[in-house]
Symmetry: C2
Subunit: 358 residues, 2 copies
Amino acid sequence: MTTGRLQGSVRVVGAGLIGTSIGLALTKLGVAVSLTDASPANVSLAVDYGAGVPAGEGDNPSLIVVCVPPDVTAVTVRRELENFPSAIVTDVASVKAPILDELAAAAADLTRYVGSHPMAGREKGGAASGRADIFVARPWVIATQPQASAEALQLVEQLALDLEAIPVRLSPLEHDRAVALVSHTPQLVSSLLAARLVGANGVELAGQGLRDTVRIAASDPKLWVQILGANAPEIVTVLKSLESDLGAVIEALEDLSKPGALATLDQTIVNGNRGVESLPGKHGSRISQYSSFVVMIGDQPGELARLFNEIGEVGINVEDLKLEHSPGAQIGLVELSVLPSVGDRLVSELTARGWRFA
Amino acid sequence: MTTGRLQGSVRVVGAGLIGTSIGLALTKLGVAVSLTDASPANVSLAVDYGAGVPAGEGDNPSLIVVCVPPDVTAVTVRRELENFPSAIVTDVASVKAPILDELAAAAADLTRYVGSHPMAGREKGGAASGRADIFVARPWVIATQPQASAEALQLVEQLALDLEAIPVRLSPLEHDRAVALVSHTPQLVSSLLAARLVGANGVELAGQGLRDTVRIAASDPKLWVQILGANAPEIVTVLKSLESDLGAVIEALEDLSKPGALATLDQTIVNGNRGVESLPGKHGSRISQYSSFVVMIGDQPGELARLFNEIGEVGINVEDLKLEHSPGAQIGLVELSVLPSVGDRLVSELTARGWRFA
């Protein structure tokens, strides 16, 4: 008896990080999960971790989740649709339109296919990194396409909900454009910026701003070459618009006395302001609604606990926080973001308790 | 009697955020501080906050700190050198070579001048935002130039140390190149990226990676137009190298079958990895040496305190942390970074206490 929404059994194809994590989460809910993978060793490992049982003859899954690399996703989805003529099939690849196109070209039964994309992952892949919780509170794109049956759409959405993800319906092309914008382009921009630092002098002046901007530049090259290659046309569109604006900034900086040069710089920063404001904040509110304060703490165990204890005593909820480093210093800086209405109280209460603000 | 290194009195020219903060910190140490500003109201406000006394006839400062906007810094430094022929003069402008050039062209007495740049600031300017602590544990560039006397260099370094900053000696040109790289270019890149989001669809898919990359794009346009304009040639050098690599990435994505296209993408991400690794981490260690884990917490006051209490009980020091948002979800994700040697213990101890890892 399952405690989730999904009824019937689920077949997971590909026992890597995502497949194993799905298996773990569904098994916890009491859903019968069978696992298969090109590598039997992967299946054994995922089964050992408790992600389900090995797939066998006579399995009759109502839902099949294809969790294989992007370059073999379409062919795998097609084979599963053929081998299990009454099952609904989804996949979790990070690009959606090319897969749908490939399936359509191969005359696959698209009434039973709904692509999806859980916006979740971990730095390390593989079954051993699988966790039942990686989807919790993350967006899970349901790639709507006109030929899919209502039943197929509903079943894939139930999967997302059972895994505590937030289903977001988008067409395959809308999805690919959105991830080019919010994920693939930022990765490339961050990498291109970080590459300037190689062998450069003065990096000891780097502050938190640079560190935040290049954090994702630490990502895995092998994985990203595949992701970028699969969504190349949509990424090119975004990069070209950025390239054009970058050219205008360079031109402005090369001759500041030229009419419009300062306006170009101003507009660049203003447009950036507007872009940040357009991001949804916590619980749908806007990032810019928070007030931020920087508290200094000593660099030993227990200091953060003491700080958050005292904030808790005062009954103030911290909406966001960040720990800053200072190379060589035995002091830490904690940036606390709170609702503006409690900002003054936060400062006065913490100051009264001896905390120093930077 | 002062408790710091600086002996003699200090004259602060410009009672804005930085000038007032310097006055507050030095006054706390018992140093006699006199303040002047083009606006008498600014002086009154800074004096009211406790940053010193109004400058008067017969003042005989041993050190003068010029804290006025970049475009009037050189002329102010020159006037101070002339009016106080036995004082050492420094400034805090965010660009150093153009100011030195202007002073040299005006035949100012460069033996008594050492430029500097405290890498500190707050989102809001003005005397009212001044805090004695804003320089603590931040780099403070001492811009070395051959004509400066040893006494001048020492006095400015003592100022930085008294304010608990970390003095970093660089030539003016080295400084300007370094800030173009670690501050000015990241600002523009972040702004240019964030500008793509204006009016775009699918921003609800944005994750922490994008949020980090565009965080500084929320900066003040007015301030930044002046900063960028003052260091334009050095910024152009960095932006052009980025522009060239961006062009290569676009070319690769436009035709992935072209020889070398995939290698270009791979090299872009690899170089980004190397750039991030070249940043100094906390206490001089490297960022990549930490292990990161994501813990789920409920979204109510006290949850963070409970988490950090229990981490403190276990005696583990958190090296870095970050709170992630999930739009619409009543759950928070805290990313904890710890030394790899205590990672397993962190997970097992927190799991035993009922915490869930994502």
